[in-house]
Symmetry: none
Subunit: 228 residues, 4 copies
Amino acid sequence: MSAPGDLLDEQQELVSPATGRPLTKRGEATRRRLLEAAEAVFAEQGYHEASIVKITERAGIGLGTFYLYFDSKQTIFEALVIDLNRRVRHSMSEAMEGASSRLEAERAGFAGFFRFTAEHPALYRVVREAEFVSPETLRLHYTRIVEGYEAGLRAAQRAGDVDPQLDPAVAAWALMGMGELIGMRFLLWERDAEGRPPAEIDPVVFDAMARFIDNALAPRRGQDGDAK
Amino acid sequence: MSAPGDLLDEQQELVSPATGRPLTKRGEATRRRLLEAAEAVFAEQGYHEASIVKITERAGIGLGTFYLYFDSKQTIFEALVIDLNRRVRHSMSEAMEGASSRLEAERAGFAGFFRFTAEHPALYRVVREAEFVSPETLRLHYTRIVEGYEAGLRAAQRAGDVDPQLDPAVAAWALMGMGELIGMRFLLWERDAEGRPPAEIDPVVFDAMARFIDNALAPRRGQDGDAK
Amino acid sequence: MSAPGDLLDEQQELVSPATGRPLTKRGEATRRRLLEAAEAVFAEQGYHEASIVKITERAGIGLGTFYLYFDSKQTIFEALVIDLNRRVRHSMSEAMEGASSRLEAERAGFAGFFRFTAEHPALYRVVREAEFVSPETLRLHYTRIVEGYEAGLRAAQRAGDVDPQLDPAVAAWALMGMGELIGMRFLLWERDAEGRPPAEIDPVVFDAMARFIDNALAPRRGQDGDAK
Amino acid sequence: MSAPGDLLDEQQELVSPATGRPLTKRGEATRRRLLEAAEAVFAEQGYHEASIVKITERAGIGLGTFYLYFDSKQTIFEALVIDLNRRVRHSMSEAMEGASSRLEAERAGFAGFFRFTAEHPALYRVVREAEFVSPETLRLHYTRIVEGYEAGLRAAQRAGDVDPQLDPAVAAWALMGMGELIGMRFLLWERDAEGRPPAEIDPVVFDAMARFIDNALAPRRGQDGDAK
DNA sequence: AATGAATGAGAATTCATTCAT
DNA sequence: GATGAATGAATTCTCATTCAT
């Protein structure tokens, strides 16, 4: 269960696809600038509207230089998904650190996710578009996050904090789907008069969602260890 | 709240975008053949890989003829999404008809959704891709479905079948997100040795999801009418 | 022995590589304009300096139109070699028609070749460059011409006009090599003050070459049927 | 008549095109490694497929270093042709050394040429491709070889071994054209099952060619000294 | 002397859309 | 109504050459 995820995590030595040689300091900096530009361009224009030229211009880098670091538009897109995955998971686990109860942890995790989404609209758009650009990469992304949810749910079940009859895998995917669509509807679709998305999700909505989750997960009274 | 949905439903009189005149019998048939061909081509190849030539060839129609019926590639795509939206909602409400309890209705609704997805795995792709082709159309699609959920939840709350403290709108989006990701993970990603998706979702998964939903929606003991 | 040559001759029905459909009258005219432009551009600039844009501009045709008639630069190049081959062979056999002796026929054949070369510098350059662009096509071209020489030599041997001990195939390739290099040196490399090649080969050179050939082919005295 | 050839022969002092200064010992070694790598790469891949990176990698030298020794890709190609010209002429004159008659010398010369071709089949390609890369260099190459033929023919004419009415220049070009095409057809096009060219030209073909040449050059009976 | 990261002009190719027939 | 030849803007990718280190 950890194998596919590793692909996303291990920090392989980066090499130039053009020369096959490992990257120098300068090279790593250039690669990072390209990734940052790609994040912005893909987020704003989407995969198909984006072009290598737009990315390199945004990065302030020559067109040909792109191909010293990435094989193609698809390659940088995939690298970006992997990068975002690492960051969103980091953002979530950071937010959950120090939570003293399941409920607190849940809220903190979702809050971390929404915060990251608000700050990086790229995450949302890029990840969902990955379904049509590189399905395999999308699977890795989703799977990796779900694994974290699932492990948390299992632990909470052992602690008696979560309905023991829930299937943790199914519940994890359900939670992820919830988060995605609520984020889309109440964060990304909400715009002010100038068309800018809000800095964070409406607390009322957040609380409503929290209640939904709480209902779903909480052990039902009088059922503690007696399941099925 | 009903205005946008109407756009999806009302059967406007069809006119040729080229001449502005209403379609003849023969014209309507040609238009339908184009839509059917587009459904197949978009489903198999995705929006960007699809081309007008492929669609017209599949429809057995001259290339130029396409523009007598649709303004652009995007236009026919949008028409197709609207068509699919009508069909999936029909499939769901048909499934829910005659359910005698909230629980039964829930399960029937999701079952209808999954059945439609299993029967038209590729059509699912068209809808999700709409997010990147015509976001406005996708909003209509989602909104229209969510409205149905929401109305159902409100009614069930009034009947005391659903936790009165839940926000029906948020809960409806949560349910939709759940359905999407569970359908993707446990239906579309599951393939047999020949790479074909299963005819229906695994009943065990379905039951696990049902329990999750049931937990989320059920009124908590001792709270029945006293909330809000 | 006739199989490969046929490839050069048979007038296949022309189809568009884009649509797979046979060409209309208009289509055939466009294709011909492209071939003529390609002849000029390849001759002047060579294969690698030539570009599709240059060819279509010369033909007075839109860039995209090119791809309705040819798959690639290489494809039109090959079509051009085949076309030139047909024409130079026609030019040679026309020139040889009505020659009343071997000697006369030889001279007429080479004269036809040089005349065609002077009028179509493309022949020379395109054909020789084919060695590096499409070796297979070059083989067809050379083989087809050599077959004609060879058949002529055999007939002349039977008539007692040519040294019966000569191997007609080897002699045919020798004659072709001669013609090529003499044409290069004394026709294409000769330029007037303005850098233009002469309209025909210097008659003195032509006569010198004719003597060389005559020596090579003529039956040696007293050897007629008595070979080796 | 000797001026252009000198360009091929004189061993100019080598200077760096970058600094204009004469090469050091180490520099000369680097230059030689580049030339050897270029020979292999141009031979295997042709001029346009070859790239500076491929050459420097093969030479085990940094990319930028290339430009300390050669101005451009074309420059190193020309240097290579000149090098090969020297070697093929050396191979031919070595073969002709000690021949005791015109006939023997002729055969030896062609044998030397074919041997060189068989041993360096790919180098042959470099020379022929020069026609399209650097026509001027090819002229030098051809001219230099033809001059040797021509001088030999003149001497043989004086000795009464060659038809005095032949024009030695035209005959020399004719012989060279013959050799080229016969070498191409009967040496380079002949491949065994594994696609490798034979080690030498078929002796039967060689003899057939020799007879053709012999016919062409031999003084005709009864004409010995009376011509012109 | 040597290096290799950076550059950008230039090439091939695609395809939504137009319009004359 | 129907057709399909024609179009050209836009995109991806290559590679000879430069130059700061």
